[in-house]
């Protein structure tokens, strides 16, 4: 017998414990762990595993942030597996995670501070010391603050959940606007949950295993066979198998499907999820892009007409349903002048969506008569559309009226049940700092946050910040329109961007380039005086930076993930390898920048709030977890029957379980033992608290404590704008749709999608530009992950396909040294000059239906020139495929037209792949959140190129 799996699992579990006392090498553990091994086996184990260290951390390959078990040897990453202790991915990894070393050791890695030497965008930099870089930043910031105040600084913290140090840094230096990638990703998707329950993302109840309290008081891990699962799931514009943003939806959906769940995928393209559904008894519903609203409205009407709604649930847990339904029903007798049909009828929806009436009725019947089930909408449609609010509102309403919200096997708002974190560490309290500004000649004192560039100015309800509008705001300047500073004007002069790439992702690329290049007519200096990029990879954004600081890669830094589980989970990140070059962790960078500011005379900086306090990253992250988990002891079954119901829970799962708590009855808080990085190290990097269902008392954070069909969130905003100017978004709404808003809608509302064939206002554009360009993420692709050359061999969704031209590139790849099964595979990552033959490597691909292809004389491999409704043209190679409906071109986002050499092999394809965000209308910003209409693009094909000897 050799090491058994049972022993190995014990061994794995014990390594975390070992980490706590500093002995991380597996070989050092054998005598402690495998006591039941026969003599001699220990030696064998030691030989085989000699030199491997195992650590538990989490991924940032994509924002799914899966728990990892990473094996390192000689300071290098060798093996990457999922961490079984994390119920989110439960030991599993998609095609991205195992290739993490390809990113860490990418040729695009930024390892040293750099400063720009050419013009912005030219990409010419010189290596400098940290001191030199910090001196430049601090000198500029102190000068800018002196002239314009801290409000003239933006800190954009990018797309990860380990950014609280940057929030603290920004707020600490006086910047009220700390933004994140979340503001340019699917905010319309979150609209419904946000206004109905103050939530965010609704996902099917599929996360298994999960810890559930049993009737005998014990806690048991329950799996797919033990608990109810959805009987139907309808994914509208959501492709979980590809995005894997909600990791457990992959295993959960296929498992539920085998157990009889009907999976319905509404998408103009047969995405991976749709393909799997149709192969297993589900449905692909190839809807006309942008008509999800019409589709869902007809379903809701059908449910109400048939009386399918769960009246008892509505009566007990909802408020304002009557107002909502009467606003909804007020359309029922109206005739839509565009087609002469009554609004929200099946005929009307069939006409708008181009689906058959029978199909919509069939789906409405499934939803109206099957329980439990879930409707889930995502970023492939609803989430990235100008009119996406409406589908989000309708999806939320249908899930609620059918009583599926928080039902076992129903739908769960992951945001409401995930852990709280950040607390004071995030520096929110700095926003309460008193500041004085001269407004119209008079001194006015208010709070730092009352200078917010969005919420107190053009976007009063821009709760997620409005990154898509940054270029315009930087070019035009800010005027405060509400609150004490009303009338105060200031410019934006500095912008930090951390781990993001807004030049590619934040609305139209050309608009961002225009902003970075703009100069002050008087001084001749750049309007945005300081652009700082803090990242581990050289992306397009960095090409426009004045200073680039090397951030530690996710294998090299700390953090706490909260992600989107259906029960509270906290996962720890800690370095598994040393930071490469001179890169630093987030806390180190926060400390370095604030210290430099202090030394340059910035009086806002208190050393005790930064480098004197956070002398080790752990101290910061322990503070981040002070409010964790921060969920209430509510639901069925009650998570902790030994503790008072309804009280907020703080502290480690084991202390709460054992009742090692103090109870504050006044504040209704239960304090267990604080959760710390050390506690996590002893527990395989993960803390898991019990699952429960029907957590309405906790999950509904609205003013009324109920699920609100009349939205107090927006009523508050209407109070704010009373007497002030009409919000900027309302002006845009009128321009693009003709609808006039004088205040925010507070219950059901409707407007037609712009740049859409279903909207007769756009008939002329539709005639000239007959295609709709839709876009979605490629499984492998965040804009940074294209820097990993290995991702070029994993096709995806007809939009990432091996259609490359022959090219040569330097890549860092595994070189096999020895590997015949007789011993551990040996290999090392080496820089290799590699030739890629035509048709062997995936590139951004435009998928096109064969009927359209025939009409334009296009075959797979041809390169089409696409022109959008604004006259912008780009080229893209085509895949002719039945997986897309006619009249639609689908391109991936972030995959094409990439012009930073830092993305290596993907950079090589820029001449025949499109950066789809060049097609986005930068002024098309949604009326409430100011979100770019990424999928509202009409286009035509103006040229077709056939491959020639020169391009083969």
């Amino acid at each position: 017998m050799k090491i058994s799996r049972r022993n190995f699992v014990k061994l794995s579990a014990a390594t975390a414990a070992a980490a706590a006392f500093g002995a991380q090498s597996l070989s050092a553990l054998t005598d402690k762990v495998n006591l039941d091994l026969q003599s001699g086996e220990e030696q064998e184990l030691e030989d085989k595993f000699s030199g491997y260290d195992v650590k538990y951390t989490y991924d940032s390959y994509c924002p799914s942030e899966c728990g990892l078990e990473v094996w390192t040897k000689d300071g290098k990453v060798e093996k990457i597996y999922g961490n079984y202790a994390d119920p989110y991915n439960h030991g599993k990894m998609c095609g991205k995670g195992p290739l993490g070393a390809g990113l860490a050791y990418s040729l695009g890695r930024i390892k040293y501070p750099m400063m720009r030497v050419g013009a912005r965008g030219e990409g010419k930099f010189k290596r400098v010391s940290w001191d030199e870089a910090l001196d430049h930043i601090a000198t500029k910031i102190v000068d800018i603050k002196k002239k314009h105040g801290g409000e003239s600084i933006i800190v954009d913290t990018g797309d990860m959940t380990d950014t609280p140090p940057y929030y603290r840094m920004g707020r600490g230096m006086g910047a009220p606007h700390i933004t994140e990638h979340g503001s340019i990703c699917d905010t319309p998707r979150r609209f419904g949950p946000r206004v109905f329950i103050d939530g965010k993302r609704w996902e099917p109840d599929l996360m298994r295993p999960t810890l559930v309290r049993q009737s005998d008081g014990s806690l048991k891990e329950m799996g797919y066979d033990d608990l109810p699962l959805p009987k139907y799931i309808m994914y509208v514009g959501w492709n979980p198998f590809t995005a894997t943003r909600i990791h457990y939806e992959s295993r959960g959906t296929v498992t539920a499907q085998i157990k009889g769940c009907k999976v319905i995928v509404v998408d103009p393209a047969m995405c991976t999820t749709a393909a799997q559904a149709t192969a297993n008894g589900g449905m692909w519903v190839p809807i006309l892009p942008g008509t999800d609203n019409h589709f869902l409205a007809a379903i809701l009407r059908h449910i109400l007409e048939k009386g399918y709604e769960d009246k008892a649930f509505i009566d007990e847990y909802c408020t304002g349903v009557e107002e909502f339904t009467s606003a909804f029903k007020s359309y029922w007798d109206k005739t839509d002048s565009s087609n002469g049909m009554k609004y929200f009828t099946m005929e009307w929806a069939a006409d708008k969506t181009t689906l058959s009436k029978d199909k919509i009725v069939e789906i409405a019947e499934i939803i109206g008569t099957t329980k439990p089930g879930a409707i889930c909408w995502g970023m492939n449609g609803v989430g990235h559309r100008y009119a996406g609010y409406i589908a989000s509102m309708l999806g939320t309403a249908i899930n609620v009226v059918m009583g599926n919200f928080e039902a076992p096997g129903g739908t769960i708002d992951c945001n409401q049940v995930r852990i709280s974190k950040g607390g004071n560490a995030g520096g929110g309290f700095f926003n309460g700092r008193e500041v004085t500004r001269t407004v119209n000649g008079k001194p006015v004192t208010g709070k730092q946050k009352e200078l917010h560039m969005d919420e107190m100015s053009d976007w009063p309800a821009g709760w997620y910040d409005v990154v898509g509008d940054h270029p315009r705001r930087i070019l035009e300047g800010i005027e405060i329109k509400y609150g004490p500073f009303k009338g105060y004007k200031y410019p934006i002069k500095a912008r930090f961007e951390i781990g993001g790439n807004t030049v590619i992702t934040g609305s139209a690329t050309w608009k961002w380039q225009e902003m970075y290049a703009a100069r002050d007519p008087e001084t001749g200096e750049y309007k945005l005086e300081l652009a700082v990029s803090i990242d581990s990879l050289l992306l397009e954004n960095a090409l426009y930076a004045d200073v680039i600081l090397p951030a530690a890669h996710y294998f090299e830094r700390y953090g706490i993930a909260d992600i989107y589980p259906s029960a509270p989970v906290a996962v720890m990140r800690e370095p598994v390898i040393k930071p490469l070059g001179e890169s630093k962790t987030q806390v180190e960078i926060m400390n370095a920048i604030t210290k430099a500011l202090y030394e340059h005379g910035d009086t806002d900086i208190d050393p005790n709030e930064f480098w004197l306090k956070y002398t080790h990253d752990d101290i910061f992250w322990n503070e981040v977890m002070e409010p964790t988990p921060g969920v209430k002891n509510v639901g069925e079954p009650l998570p902790y029957p030994n503790l008072p119901e309804g009280y907020k829970l703080l502290g480690t799962p084991d202390s709460l379980e054992a009742g090692r708590v103090t109870i504050d009855d006044e504040k209704k808080v239960i304090h267990g033992e604080p959760i710390t990085m050390d506690w996590l190290r002893k527990n395989q990097g993960v803390a898991v608290w019990p699952m429960a269902w029907r957590r309405y008392k906790q999950a509904v954070k609205t003013g009324s404590g109920k699920i609100e069909f009349v939205w107090s969130k927006l009523e508050e905003e209407n109070e704010k704008i009373k007497g002030g100017p009409r919000p900027y978004g309302f002006e845009l709404l009128e321009k693009y749709t003709g609808d006039v808003w004088d205040e925010y809608p507070t219950t059901f509302f409707w407007y037609e999608p712009p740049y859409n064939p279903a909207n007769p206002t756009y008939a002329a554009t539709t005639e000239k530009y007959p295609f709709q360009v839709i876009t979605a993420r490629v499984h492998q692709g965040m804009t940074a992950t294209y820097a990993n050359p290995q991702q070029g061999e994993t096709p995806c969704d007809s939009t990432w396909w091996p259609l490359n031209r022959e090219f040569e590139a330097e890549v860092a790849e595994w070189v096999t040294v020895g590997n015949d099964g007789s011993e551990m595979p040996k290999g090392e990552i080496k820089v290799v000059n590699k030739r890629f033959r035509r048709g062997t490597y995936c590139v951004a691909t435009c998928s096109m239906n064969p009927d359209d292809a025939k009409a334009y004389g296009v075959v797979t491999g041809d390169v089409v020139t696409i022109e959008n409704m604004l006259g912008k043209t780009q080229k893209n190679v085509v895949l002719v495929t039945h997986t897309i409906r006619p009249g639609v071109l689908k391109l991936p986002f972030g995959a094409g037209g990439r012009f930073s050499p830092g993305v290596g092999t993907t950079y090589q394809q820029r001449d025949y792949t499109a950066n789809v965000n060049e097609f986005v209308d930068p002024n098309l910003l949604t009326p409430i959140f100011g979100f770019p209409g990424y999928l509202d693009i009409q286009a035509r094909i103006v040229a077709v190129e056939k491959p020639t000897f020169a391009t083969i």
């Binding site: 799997q276 192969a279 061999e793 015949d820």
Partner: protein, 197 residues
């Protein structure tokens, strides 16, 4: 009893994430351009009645392996008692006969070592008692299973007993040990035994 290793892929659960391919590359230090574990994408039919299927493939560790017969160097490619078909890198001369002999395209010449290369069912992990290849270890759809088919209590034996399975290119007489639990494709295609390649 001597073990006999086999592999089950539940096609109903593959989500085409390529985690198997990536995990194999990571585990076995594979350079780009070659893969021991792959995922095929098969399109059939015409819009809107078309279908797309995913077919993960790897070495079948056949009971009647044509690659072993094709090898001119004794012992360079061989079948073990437990069913594994392996390559001895020290003996292999890189002639490529086995690559051509394999009807599953499961073998290739590794550009780093210049000798034949293929899936080993992660034999190095088995040697350490980890009867779970890296592709199974990380599979997010729980579509991949590995184990001892001679042990009636193993998960793989249970799956084989409870489900109808198929093997690839049965007609070649290779007696593959990778079994597929099918989705509805045979029904949807209205043909049986479609050539997946």
């Amino acid at each position: 009893m001597v073990k006999k290793y086999g592999f089950v892929i539940d096609l109903r659960k593959c989500v085409a994430c390529y985690g198997c391919q990536s995990s194999c590359r990571m585990e076995n230090k594979m350079p780009m351009g070659v893969n021991r574990a792959r995922v095929g994408i098969i399109d059939t039919g015409e819009y809107p009645n078309n279908h797309r299927f995913f077919l993960p493939v790897l070495c079948n560790h056949c009971d009647n392996p044509p690659c072993v017969k094709a090898c001119p160097t004794p012992g360079a490619t061989y079948k073990r008692d437990d069913g594994l078909v392996l390559v001895n890198e020290k003996l292999c001369i890189g002639c490529g006969y086995c690559v051509k002999a394999c009807p599953y395209d499961a073998r290739f010449i590794n550009p780093s070592t210049m000798v034949a290369d293929k899936c080993t069912y992660c034999a190095h992990r088995i040697a350490e008692g980890l009867e779970e290849p890296a592709c199974v270890r990380n599979c997010i759809g729980h579509a991949r299973y590995f184990g001892d088919m001679n042990d009636p209590n193993s998960e793989i034996s249970r799956l084989l007993a409870e489900n109808e399975t198929e093997v690839l290119r049965e007609g070649f007489g290779t007696k593959p040990n990778t079994y597929y639990i099918m989705d509805n494709r045979a029904k949807l295609l209205d043909v049986s035994g479609v050539d997946e390649r």
